[in-house]
């Protein structure tokens, strides 16, 4: 018996040794002047997508290879990066948004870098004057409605106040801002709109029989009409109607859903150079590339968000089916960072208790 165990055991110990050996990175040998031949790591969230060939274009241009490392959703990615500050998982992070931005800045995750490509990015998106992060894309979280459920007798609600109107009682489903990104964005929209009056607004939403789910999936596929539920208004994205067209089966010409423009909150996603990188020059080149037309024009159909650069063209589906609110709700990242836990706690007391 002992001999059998010994053989098996030694084999596995050898295998474990091999695992350890595979895991470590070879040290970088390149000089600081030349970035050609370097490999850098882009840490990002699970929703990150590029078309095949896009990152390869960057490699052809600069000689720098890119490895993409996913780290869960945005919240997980930020939490994981804060835990590993000083010994980061990669060189550049992409995907931290304005709701998590302050937390990342407070933890000093990033090194400042002012990309020359920022000249093409509207100032309204450049939320960090210190340029520790660079805006790459934006999108809006808005109430979506199922078009067929509304007509002359029951017109589509137009404002946040309408959603609390008894005429629309029992129609709305929202996500919990303590567990869902669109849920948090919608809470922030109401705070931006009503200021201190947001608590009363949510009391009236509760009186109007709002349904709360933990996440977007159970709201959209569980309660909303689209997934077979019975609620015709859901908190989703401004890009959800074009997705309903692009991913329709069988194909359709127009989206079955629409967006209530007055309810939108703008989410901006940023990239930043992770503090402690030993590939600073290559990391700068990658941030510049993320703002290039090559990458920016690839963003909409892969991640269903809008490019930050004004020089990037939009795909037809976005031009035809996406309504871009002119004046979406916003809040300063510092306000969000300082108050979000208190706000969501108070929200829980008002809506769920």
């Amino acid at each position: 018996m002992r001999r059998v165990l010994l053989t098996v055991g030694v084999g596995v110990l050898v295998a474990l040794g091999a695992i350890t050996a595979c895991g470590s990175d070879p040290p970088s040998a390149s000089s600081p002047e030349s970035i050609v031949g370097q490999t850098i790591t882009l840490v990002t969230h699970d929703s990150f997508r590029v078309s095949p060939g896009t990152l390869e274009a960057f490699t052809t241009e600069t000689g720098v290879a890119v490895v993409v490392q996913s780290a869960g959703d945005t919240g997980q990615m930020v939490a994981m990066s804060i835990l590993t500050v000083g010994n980061p998982l990669g060189d550049v992070m992409y995907g931290v948004d304005n709701t998590f931005l302050q937390r990342a800045l407070d933890a000093e995750l990033f090194e400042a870098y002012e990309s020359p490509a920022l000249v093409n990015v509207p100032m309204s998106l450049q939320l960090d004057p210190g340029h520790r992060v660079t805006p790459i894309d934006f999108g809006d979280v808005c109430a979506n409605y199922w078009i067929d459920r509304f007509d002359d007798d029951l017109p589509v609600p137009a404002t946040l106040d309408d959603l609390a109107d008894p005429a629309y009682r029992g129609l709305l489903v929202v996500e919990n801002p303590e567990t869902s990104s669109p849920g948090l964005a919608f809470l922030l929209a109401t705070i931006a709109e009503f200021g201190d009056g947001w608590e009363d607004y949510w009391k009236s939403l509760r009186d109007n029989d709002v349904v709360v789910t933990a996440g977007w999936e159970d709201a959209y596929y569980g309660e909303f009409v689209s997934g077979g539920g019975d609620r015709p208004i859901v908190i989703s994205y401004a890009s959800s109607p074009p997705a309903e067209v692009i991913y329709a089966d069988p194909p359709v010409d127009t989206a079955p859903t629409g967006v209530i423009i007055d309810t939108c909150f703008r989410q901006v996603e940023f990239a930043g150079i992770l503090a402690g990188t030993i590939h600073r020059a290559a990391a700068e080149a990658l941030v510049d590339f993320l703002l290039s037309d090559t990458f920016q024009e690839d963003v909409p159909l892969n991640m269903f968000v809008f490019p930050a650069s004004t020089t990037a063209g939009l795909p037809p589906a976005f031009v035809d089916h996406v309504v871009l609110p002119e004046d979406p709700h916003t809040l300063a990242p510092a306000d969000i960072g300082a108050n979000r836990n208190a706000w969501t706690e108070r929200w829980t007391e008002i809506v769920l208790r």
Partner: protein, 531 residues
């Protein structure tokens, strides 16, 4: 010696060290104050109480639902038995979102989801889902053990005048107890740490320690509170496992494995059992199959055909993700078998304290939250020679940690039940210790090994939580993560593909479990013939 060192090293490096590192980090500063302040917090007390009672109720119901099926599978032979056994494992690979929507559709169809009888977002939906996910654990681990018990003892009881119930209570159940306790303890840990079921089916107001740890660590950026809760979870899990092991220990009754031909079941017994299993397991699955085939107003295989092409929302096609999952599952199962197998031998043959520590230690990964383990690995395994944070081995290692308890819970009761006289007889007849192991322990335990392997495999294939907390390269995306992404964007096409992928995952699991178990049965067949 290696049998002791290897599992100890594996557990130490990949579990104890990471968890200790994250607990140490979290408790520095405010964390300790949070921990001290917890008992006084009303919201903590209600979360802890809910975590406990829903897990107890879920476990008891799971055992009750599963025992008749375990009896059927253990004592009778009928056509389709192997397939039925393999099918019971498929709930393990189904993501909660998918099961949740299948349940919702079912409630809807039978008119159970209206007004006063609304089930969605109630604690009963949570418990029903826990039974659905875990019934296989009891069915299979108890079934495998039951099969090895000699039915002659029951027959003697019947001859002596005991009725069927009396026989079950006084003769069968006491002998079955080690396996029931082992299975129940796994189910209990699973229900204690379940995540998606609580959030999605329980609704926004229900929270367990597991969901609270996640909410504090990820959403509130409050590592101190998350760690305080993680410490409570860890201590509670240790206490529960100690109690469960006490219940299970030393109750094992040795006996000859049964050498007689099993009976065919009566039509009524088979029918009643199949009806129960079908209601619990197959109805939700049937809903998914139906949805995967629905296109517009008709049915087609179109969604399946589309799985080979990459949707632009995914880094790889769904089929590639499925292949990745398969590879991870093979590696994770192998790791779980080797580490769990060696550890089982230590538990059965080792000295008292070493045996107890192993029995306890290797159960713990089941009861620790995915956030704790994932974050722990992130900060602990970040220096050479253990810079494994971005290693491709981390995912199968994490999966194996969850699979090991299954291998051990099926193996230990069976190994304990092997009559020492069998081994002694073999030794007297001149067999070397190696030969005794190969020809006595291995064949008798073969069925249990196969069941443990099947679970380790299915768990790895369906694992979502721990995987999502480990850094990954997108082209190594697993099938559950791909499925979750597909359901993350509106559109019937994506929903259809997600359902088709779920069905393929189930089919693949059932097929692999069939293969794994046919090997295991070969082993036990040999010993039956020899005896």
């Amino acid at each position: 010696m290696v049998a002791v060192l290897l599992p100890a090293a594996f557990l130490g490096v990949f579990f104890l060290y990471p968890v200790a590192a994250i607990v140490a980090r979290g408790l520095t500063g405010e964390g300790l104050d949070r921990l001290v302040g917890l008992p006084a917090s009303a919201s903590f007390r209600s979360v802890a109480w809910f975590t406990l009672w829903q897990a107890v109720v879920s476990t008891v119901l799971t055992v009750l639902v599963a025992l008749p099926g375990a009896h059927l599978l253990a004592r009778y032979r009928f056509r389709g038995r192997a397939v039925l056994r393999a099918l019971t494992t498929v709930p393990f690979v189904l993501p909660t979102v998918v099961v949740g929507s299948a349940f919702a559709a079912l409630f809807d169809r039978f008119g159970l989801d209206d007004g006063a009888f609304r089930l969605q977002h109630t604690v009963w939906a949570v418990i029903a889902a826990h039974v659905f996910f875990n019934v296989a654990v009891v069915l299979r681990t108890v079934g495998a053990f039951w099969e090895g018990l000699d039915p002659a003892v029951e027959e003697q009881a019947r001859v002596l005048g005991a009725g069927p119930w009396r026989t079950f209570w006084s003769v069968t159940l006491p002998r079955l107890w080690p396996a029931v306790a082992a299975a129940a303890s796994i189910v209990f840990l699973f229900c204690t740490t379940s995540f998606g079921v609580i959030l999605i089916l329980g609704g926004p107001t229900r929270a367990t320690l597991e969901t609270e740890i996640w909410r504090h660590a990820v959403w509130r950026g409050d590592l101190a509170s998350a760690t305080a809760l993680a410490v409570v979870q860890l201590v509670a899990v240790v206490a529960m496992v100690v109690v469960a092991n006490r219940l299970q220990l030393r109750r094992a009754i040795g006996g000859r494995p049964s050498a007689r031909r099993p009976q065919r079941p009566t039509k009524r017994l088979l029918g009643a059992n199949l009806a129960l299993l079908a209601t619990v397991l197959l109805l939700p699955v049937a809903v998914l199959v139906e949805r995967s085939l629905a296109v517009g107003d008709g049915y087609s295989l179109r969604h399946y055909g589309a799985l080979a092409d990459r949707v632009n929302l995914l880094p790889v096609s769904a089929l590639v993700a499925l292949r990745n999952s398969l590879l991870f599952a093979v590696v994770a199962t192998a790791l779980a078998l080797v580490v769990g197998g060696l550890a089982s031998l230590v538990v059965v043959h080792g000295r008292g304290s070493v045996s107890r520590i192993f029995d306890l230690g290797l159960m713990l990964p089941l009861g620790v939250s995915a956030v704790t383990l994932g974050f722990g690995m992130l900060i602990a395994l970040d220096d050479p020679p253990l810079d494994l944070r971005t290693s491709r081995w981390l995912v199968p290692v994490a999966h194996a940690l969850v699979g090991i308890p299954f291998v051990m819970r099926t193996l230990v009761p069976t190994l304990r039940s092997i009559d020492d006289r069998l081994r002694e007889a073999a030794a007297v007849l001149g067999a070397s210790p190696t030969r005794v192991f190969r020809e006595i322990d291995l064949p008798i335990a073969g069925r249990a090994v196969a069941v443990g392997a099947a679970f380790a495999f299915a768990i790895s294939l369906g694992e979502f939580g721990a995987t999502s907390f480990l850094p990954r390269q997108p082209d190594r995306m697993t099938a559950p993560l791909a499925l979750f992404r597909l359901l993350g964007t509106p559109g019937d096409l994506l929903q259809g593909q997600a359902m088709a992928l779920a069905v393929l995952m189930m089919l693949l699991t059932a097929a692999c479990v069939l293969v794994i178990e046919s090997r295991g049965r070969f082993g036990s067949g040999v010993v039956r013939g020899d005896l």
